[in-house]
């Protein structure tokens, strides 16, 4: 049978054979080794990326821990500050109340002292007044000598006013 275009089945098969040999050769010599190398490199970089990611994760965790610790320290500081403030307030209050008590005591003592001095002064004044009164009375009485003597004298003289 005369096939148009001079098609030759034997030559077609030879072309296919040639191509199949080329396919096998290129696959084993070039395509597969290059692809394997690329896959190996991809795996290598993927592993590196994974390692970096895990390190990043652990660093993030450490950071979070530190931040947590920092937060708790801040809370602790705040609590201690509050406590110190309370202590200070309490101390100030105590000192104030002590000062008030001391002042009250001083005032009371002063008042007591003042009262005592006052009493003493009054007593002294009374005593002095008594003495002065007695002195004055004495002076009045004994202006003309001893009245008793005068009485006795008058009585001796027989005067009615005696």
């Amino acid at each position: 049978m005369n096939i148009p275009l001079n098609i030759d089945w034997q030559q077609i098969l030879l072309h296919v054979l040639n191509f199949v040999i080329l396919f096998g050769g290129l696959y084993f010599l070039l395509y597969k080794p290059v692809k394997n190398f690329m896959a190996k490199r991809e795996a290598h970089y993927a592993e590196m990326a994974q390692k970096a990611q895990s390190e990043l994760d652990s660093a993030e965790k450490i950071k979070a821990d530190y931040q947590e610790q920092l937060k708790s320290v801040e809370g602790e500081i705040s609590a201690k500050r509050t406590e110190a403030q309370k202590e200070l307030d309490r101390s100030v209050q105590q000192q104030l109340s002590d000062a008030h008590a001391q002042a009250d005591k001083i005032v009371a003592d002063a008042q007591k002292d003042a009262a005592r001095v006052h009493d003493k002064m009054i007593a002294d004044a009374q005593k002095e007044l008594t003495e002065l009164a007695m002195e004055a009375t004495k002076k009045l009485v004994y202006k003309d000598g001893d009245p008793y003597d005068a009485f006795l004298d008058q009585a001796e003289r027989g005067e009615p006013n005696a």
Partner: protein
């Protein structure tokens, strides 16, 4: 500056002398007319080459074997001397190889995800064969025909037998993919595209043959052999090489992906719809 001018003058003189000489010196008497040359380029009835003394074959078969030989020697050299020295940060040549492999691997993966191993290797080989085979005609390697006259080896795929072999083998690969992943349904969906081997074969043949005919035409006439071959030969051949390699590999990847795609059973769909 003066030395440059002298070199330029010498170069122009050489061009003029060679041009005049090539026009004045009588060429060998044409043994065949342009019609015969063109007809032979298509049908290969006259110029045949003996295949190791076993059989007379078309020159394109010898070209195909030479191209395969070149590619295999290149692959062996790369495998022995280059691949063991591959680095994590690639150099220029390593980058080129990786890009070539990655291009076809990516094409296979995007068209047939999950079943791209064989497909990637096949389209890599087909792409390399078509690209280098098309560029092969640029080198003008000579062979002796059975009649004793010299002939320039053409691009392998400019022979209809090579194009049919490539197209049909690609179709068989697609069919194989369909059977391997979808069984009988894969066969059905592949056979549905029954025109594919013919279209792929004759697309390759037509594209490569047109290039060959233009080249034959240009070189047949001495007057067309100045300057024009630079554009016709180099530019067109490069474009052919790229376009044909891309078209065939893309088509194979596309159809392979289509027939090897897992198809949902229709009954289940109906059931699911009914349940909804």
């Amino acid at each position: 500056m003066k030395a440059k001018k002298t070199k330029l003058a010498l170069w122009i003189c050489a061009i003029v002398v060679l041009l005049v000489a090539s026009i004045l010196v009588p060429s060998v008497q044409k043994t065949e007319t342009i019609q015969v040359t063109m007809r032979d380029a298509v049908l290969h009835e006259t110029n045949r080459i003996s295949l190791f003394g076993i059989k007379d074959v078309n020159p394109a078969l010898i070209s195909a074997m030479v191209v395969s030989g070149i590619l295999l020697v290149f692959a062996v050299i790369v495998r022995i001397f280059v691949i063991p020295r591959f680095k994590m940060v690639p150099g220029k040549f390593q980058m080129l190889l990786e890009q070539a492999v990655d291009l076809f691997d990516g094409m296979a993966k995007s068209n047939s995800p999950g079943r791209s191993g064989f497909l990637g290797a096949y389209i890599f080989t087909a792409g390399a064969y078509i690209f280098i085979g098309t560029l092969f005609e640029l080198f003008g390697i000579q062979a002796i025909t059975t009649e004793g006259s010299p002939i320039t080896l053409p691009a392998p795929l400019s022979d209809v037998n090579a194009a049919i072999a490539m197209g049909c083998f690609s179709y068989l690969v697609i069919l194989g993919g369909g059977i391997a992943y979808n069984g009988f349904k894969g066969v059905g969906s592949t056979l549905k595209e029954f025109s594919l081997p013919i279209s792929m074969s004759f697309r390759l043949f037509g594209a490569l043959l047109s290039g060959l005919l233009v080249t034959e035409l240009v070189y047949y006439y001495v007057n067309l052999s100045f300057v024009l071959p630079v554009i016709v030969g180099v530019m067109f051949t490069l474009l052919h090489a790229l376009i044909q390699a891309y078209v065939l590999t893309m088509l194979v990847a596309l159809y392979f992906g289509e027939v090897s795609e897992k198809q949902e059973p229709k009954k289940k769909k109906v059931k699911a719809e009914a349940e909804n």
